[in-house]
């Protein structure tokens, strides 16, 4: 018989009462997920891991910063903390690093094409990271976090129309920046 796991909000209340096991459970449950999110902003594994560690330690140091009476889900609230830390760190280190580790998943046999694909992905990652903050967040939430437009709009505190406009602008910018790698095959 499967035992029901305590939800995040219950674990947070336990952390506020000084329960370290609850903190460990929360970290094990969410660290990988928030690492993925941080990596999209930082495009660097060490920085992304540091961001996640800093966010969790902030929560551990002062668990009262999560207010249960506001009835905000932990994942929504913690998402903002991680994103804010990423944006603050980006301001500190303004130069965008090119990512060094990528997994090529198309399985093409030709080495030249593979190298070109790798180059395009590295450049794309850097271009996404250098988009304006709101455009970048909209793109990450909708494309990589698989959120619906409505959910993402709520998370960014904008209307659905504004979110769609942010997405459109982000894609237009990326198409221009990546034009050397995108070939129009129509006509």
């Amino acid at each position: 018989m499967a035992t029901e796991l305590p939800d995040d909000e219950y674990l947070l209340l336990q952390i506020q009462e000084g329960n370290n096991t609850a903190f460990a459970a929360l970290v094990k449950r969410h660290s990988a997920k928030y690492y993925n999110l941080a990596f999209r902003y930082m495009i660097n594994r060490e920085s992304a891991e540091d961001i996640v560690q800093t966010a969790f330690l902030k929560l551990f140091e002062n668990p009262e910063i999560w207010n249960p009476t506001k009835r905000v889900k932990f994942t929504t609230w913690f998402y903002r903390i991680v994103v804010n830390l990423c944006l603050d760190n980006k301001k500190k280190y303004k130069t965008v690093q090119l990512p060094d580790i990528f997994e090529i998943c198309d399985g093409r046999p030709h080495q030249e094409e593979k190298a070109l694909m790798q180059e395009a992905q590295s450049l794309l990652a850097a271009e996404i990271a250098s988009l304006p903050d709101r455009q970048k967040s909209a793109l990450i939430l909708c494309f990589y976090e698989d959120m619906s437009h409505k959910e993402a709009a709520e998370r960014l505190a904008v209307s659905v129309e504004a979110l769609q406009s942010l997405l459109m602008r982000a894609k237009e910018t990326l198409k221009i920046k990546m034009k050397e790698y995108l070939r129009d095959t129509h006509g």
Partner: protein, 107 residues
């Protein structure tokens, strides 16, 4: 294939490198060196969580608190001269004679 599709394909192919297996453990270990801060309001909240009163109880407690407050605030305005309190109420010899004379007159 148009540029939109190509871009989306390129974006899908962009994978995040796997997280270090030790990240969660590292965070938990780092937390053991962090001193937790407890706000005074959080502590008070938790303490009073145990003492739930019915609604009339809160009214009576508030009334009592207001009573104390008013009492303490008006305390200075009551001018009691403790040093002379005995003298005020001690009857003089003249007033006793006068009182007895009044009684005798009636008789």
């Amino acid at each position: 294939m148009d540029k939109n599709k190509q871009l989306e394909q390129l974006m899908s192919a962009y994978k995040v490198p796997l997280v270090s297996v030790s990240l969660a453990d590292r965070i938990i270990l780092a937390a053991t060196h962090v001193r937790q801060r407890q706000s005074i309001w959080g502590w008070i909240d938790r303490m009073f969580e145990e003492f739930k009163l019915p609604l009339p109880g809160y009214s009576l407690t508030s009334l009592l608190a207001i009573g104390f407050l008013v009492g303490f605030l008006t305390y200075d305005h009551i001018d009691i001269d403790i040093a002379n309190i005995g003298n005020v109420y001690v009857a003089s010899g003249e007033s006793i004679d006068q009182f007895l004379d009044e009684d005798e007159a009636l008789l």
